[in-house]
């Protein structure tokens, strides 16, 4: 047995060495040909057979350990997730995202209802007890409004639009992603975020309304707010879906159910982030700029919202599909 083990290792070693360098090369490349892929699968079978023999003949040796590593490397190469590229992106926009949105539609509706209710509650709260605004707004903001000015007035002269945009869009993206991720806390984080956001929105409107500035605040937020608030509601819906996957698992384990839910919603999360980038740019460049009249702000806000709906529903790519381009 002793001599046969060494002789076997001796006989197989050249093939392992050759394969070892070939696998390093294959792992480095982004795509491989069909012949190379078939060769890798054949090599995988051979190394599996050799590894099984090594585990029996030379257990605990470093040759066996090296074979384990080689086997794991070939396995990783074969099990590599295929790169979707542009086709993957188009497929996500055309099929995956609309399908997830349809599935999440009731949740999106309930999240919007929750946000509206909390906004109404915030409005009533501040309308009834105006002094409570100090719990929601900063001292500086309250002072501005009491002087008959909005805190957004002259914003463009204080901070360059580009910096303002990046600050806003990054903040919005973090809030939306947090609404999604905090679904992991069985939805508690998501509900908290939605309630607080709605409450603050309603309370702020009530406060500026008391000082006759509601119309101006509306003018400020209309261009970016429609998409921004819609995306927050979508993010909340994804968060509750994640919570649901943990509370009522659809797969063998909660972890598996959670993973599947997140993977399914991931393209929608990515699209939401892109939409928030657009909303952030509008909020930085258009919303604080007095050059834009209300009508053009409404036109921008409504157009961007419709673009969002068309993209989410998969209707944006329908003409291309009909023309045979997809």
């Amino acid at each position: 047995m002793k001599s046969s083990a060494a002789a076997w290792v001796h006989a197989r070693a050249p093939a392992w060495r050759e394969l070892s360098s070939r696998i390093v090369e294959l792992r480095r490349r982004r795509s491989i040909s069909v012949d190379e892929a078939l060769g890798a699968i054949e090599a995988y079978r051979n190394v599996a057979r050799d590894l099984a023999s090594a585990r029996r003949l030379v257990p605990g040796t470093r040759t066996a350990a090296a074979l384990e590593t080689l086997f794991a490397q070939i396995h990783a190469t074969i099990a590599r997730h295929p790169s979707g590229g542009w086709a993957g992106l188009l497929s996500a926009l055309r099929d995956d995202i609309p399908s997830v949105v349809r599935e999440l539609a009731p949740r999106i509706f309930w999240m919007a209802a929750l946000m509206c209710s909390s906004a109404a509650a915030g409005f009533c709260l501040i309308a009834t007890y105006p002094h409570l605004i100090s719990l929601i707004a900063s001292e500086e903001m309250i002072q501005h409004v009491e002087e008959g000015k909005l805190w957004t007035d002259g914003l463009i002269n204080v901070t360059p639009s580009s910096i303002l945009s990046v600050r806003i869009l990054s903040n919005n993206i973090v809030v939306a992603l947090f609404a999604v991720c905090s679904g992991f806390l069985f939805g508690l984080g998501t509900f908290y975020l939605m309630l607080v956001n709605g409450l603050m929105l309603g309370a702020t409107f009530a406060f500026v309304h008391q000082h006759g500035l509601a119309a101006r605040l509306f003018e400020f937020i209309i261009a970016h707010g429609m998409v921004e608030l819609s995306v927050i509601c979508i993010a909340g819906a994804i968060g509750t879906a994640i919570a649901d996957s943990l509370i009522r698992p659809t797969h063998a384990t909660r972890r598996e159910s959670f993973r599947v839910c997140v993977r399914r919603a991931a393209p929608l999360m990515a699209l939401c982030a892109v939409l928030l980038v657009g909303a952030g740019l509008i909020e930085g460049f258009i919303s604080p700029d007095p050059v834009f009249p209300l009508a053009s702000r409404i036109a921008i806000g409504v157009s961007y919202w419709f673009l969002m709906v068309l993209t989410l529903g998969g209707w944006l790519l329908r003409p291309l599909r009909a023309a045979g381009a997809l």
Binding site: A13, G60, T61, T63, C181, F258
Partner: protein, 243 residues
């Protein structure tokens, strides 16, 4: 903890076993990455300021529209800071410089190299893992979860494994004669391991091990008791070269 194994049923009937990286390796890799990230972001900021303003004094161009210098100055470090992990993990196939130094790698639950979706998801969920501070949630989850994963890994279907780099010479067997083949393969492997650790072992200890090993390998053909420390090492070297 680092010795735990993750087993993937192979399609050939032979399982793939991957050593799981524990919270220690994970934290070590993160700390290295964090330092690299901060240094790179600061370097990017300094370079951008020197290019834009010609000095390290910052000028805000209030009221300007378009891509202002101030914006460009912050763009480079922000991109480095926020996209460091996802971009590098994607380019380095599941590794980052810190992970490479710590000898760990991200793989999917199938043992494959993660794609862009999995890498983005595991990095987005850092928002939860880093709560309330210093990655407390992530660390606690990694301590108590199966496969020692944080929440981001659970969401993405990934795990961190030890990236074993076994030298290819362990796969080499060139000069093997019929007589050499008579020596137990495991003994040869042990001889090589002892030689590698030779300087770290106490003299009397390594001599005792070497003599026992030579006696086992060569039987009564030689008397290892007659050899001193240097001779024992040379004899083991000769023996291990037979591998």
């Amino acid at each position: 903890m680092d010795n735990e194994q993750y087993t993937i049923p192979g399609i050939t009937g032979v399982d793939v076993t991957l050593p799981i990286a524990g919270p220690g390796s994970r934290s070590y890799a993160f700390i290295i990455d964090w330092h690299i990230r901060v240094v790179l972001a600061l370097a990017g900021l300094v370079a951008a300021m020197l290019i834009e303003f010609g000095s390290l004094r910052f000028h805000v161009d209030n009221g300007k529209r378009g891509l202002t210098p101030a914006f460009l100055v912050f763009l480079a470090p922000a991109i480095i800071y926020f996209f460091y992990h996802p971009v590098l993990e994607l380019l380095m196939r599941g590794q980052s410089p810190g992970k490479r130094m710590a000898g760990v790698r991200v793989v999917t639950v199938n043992g494959g190299t993660p794609g862009i979706g999995a890498i983005l998801i595991r990095n987005i969920f850092r928002l939860i893992d880093c709560l309330p501070m210093l990655y407390f949630v992530g660390l606690i989850t990694a301590l108590f979860s199966a496969q020692r994963v944080r929440i981001g890994d659970m969401a993405a279907g990934t795990l961190l494994v030890i990236d074993e780099r076994v030298p290819s010479r362990y796969l080499a067997r060139d000069a093997l004669t019929a007589a050499e083949a008579a020596v137990d393969f495991t003994t040869l492997d042990l001889a090589e391991q002892i030689l590698e650790r030779w300087p770290a072992l106490a003299v009397d200890r390594r001599d005792a091990i070497a003599r026992a090993l030579l006696r086992k390998a060569l039987g009564s053909a030689e008397d290892p008791d007659a050899l001193d420390d240097d001779a024992l090492r040379a004899r083991l070297a000769t023996l291990s070269e037979q591998r």
